[in-house]
Symmetry: C2
Subunit: 310 residues, 2 copies
Amino acid sequence: MNYPFKIHILGSSAAIPTSDRHTTAQLIRYHNKKILFDCAEGTQIQLRRYHLPMLRIDHIFISHLHGDHYLGLPGLIFTMHLLGRKRKLHIYAPDGLKEIIELQYEITKLIPGFSIEYHLIEKGKQKLYEDNQIKIETIEMTHRLPTFGFLITEKPFPRNIKKEVIEKYELKIDDILQIKAGKDHKLNTGEIIPNDDLTLAPSPPRKYAFCSDTAFTENYIEQIKNVDLLYHEATFLNDKADIAKEKFHCTAGQAALIAQKASAKKLMLGHYSARYDELSEFITEARVIFENTIIAEEGITVEIGQQINS
Amino acid sequence: MNYPFKIHILGSSAAIPTSDRHTTAQLIRYHNKKILFDCAEGTQIQLRRYHLPMLRIDHIFISHLHGDHYLGLPGLIFTMHLLGRKRKLHIYAPDGLKEIIELQYEITKLIPGFSIEYHLIEKGKQKLYEDNQIKIETIEMTHRLPTFGFLITEKPFPRNIKKEVIEKYELKIDDILQIKAGKDHKLNTGEIIPNDDLTLAPSPPRKYAFCSDTAFTENYIEQIKNVDLLYHEATFLNDKADIAKEKFHCTAGQAALIAQKASAKKLMLGHYSARYDELSEFITEARVIFENTIIAEEGITVEIGQQINS
């Protein structure tokens, strides 16, 4: 079996929002976990608009401290407080965000009725979060401020027992648990049935890489090898490659090259400059290099790795 | 003649935005002036959505430092900067806002390419702005933090010269200017024609009062007497008068009572609690007391005092 693993796009615009594109935020749902990657202005409104859960978000990861990636956070925290949240919230961010948030508590005389644990993101590959289902690590980006992508990696599932062997060998619950844990099975005759003959391989662990914002660099390709979905910033088209370079951003073609070199299964572009009304050229440009490309548009949901075997 | 005097509603929700109501912001257009009253999260997006000018806003008035009234400001300033603004921006706010904004410059390493002059709003009736067309004063509200409404008062227009007298008395340009300035006119015969016989009264000066947020009080009724339009917060309906009182807010009925006692020409309700999906009861409740009531809904424009004579 596979747990649902979904990315909901709440914003896809670069620095300046447009009339139909908010700035960066994504809600990640893995099984019953709700996680935010970035939290731009209007994130709380987008969550409501798309009927997505807000109070059950327990972990918020902020890639860097440019306004288009964190300005929705004070409002979201304030709304969680007004809606009666009591559970702890974890915020992972580069240095400075805690200060920005807490100054506002002091001045507005509003302290949330729940605690926030701030986790500092620092230079170097860092494991930020781990439980028995997933882990989340930083991916080091190259930008004007310290900036971090995030890689979610699923933990391997146990092998699945073949239904037919249960009857064939008259397996009891204990036997089944042992086999699922990887043990071989010994018959009453003394014959040993190897675990591989009793079980099926589970789906391979899935991976999602979120890369925003960054200059074009191959530094993190090894780390994102074979991801199921690569979200990569593509602020400009190739004809603006000089501006992209100057501003430490990428073009759609460069994002596609990263996806190709990393052997990603699918690429999702995002973080488009407000100068572009129409996004079809982003797809066209990327697909020349990497065919399986889609574009992040607000309101869409991308499911990672449909269930293959159960 | 009259200058256009319009209020564009960008948000009408109280503390928590809903899927179709942003929190408080209004764009005021008087002649060629663009002014913001409050700047909640998403204000820059709302300006774009309704095709309203952003870069030509030179004065922003913040009623108080609760997040639902100022959280759109850092993003708006950042966008103005990215769009190349050079003109000075004036921000009028209670103590603390400058600190919130400037800490974010420091941490995000982004200083706007235009200057901002902060004007401190303090207790007591205060004239914040004046030019040859309008003046803007504070109205003291009663809320949990120091909170201020704003009253825009138009300067009186000069009297209009009657067209027929120009020909009748063969008036020259100089005569006309003198008469417009209020002087009587002396004929060659020595006869004096009083100014009142030569001119028509101009439209009476228009007034707009913005009252958000406040507990129910009659303290400012004298100051807002006879306003053409009174925007008044109505966070709750009367059956929640106890909650309104506890939270230093008003009901629709209380807002109507203020409008009635102030002899306002028209009342616009706003700042509805997110618990209300449907707003028609706000109108019903207020109209029992004050008939000429409308509700602020985002995207609407209210024009103040249509042209009467020219």
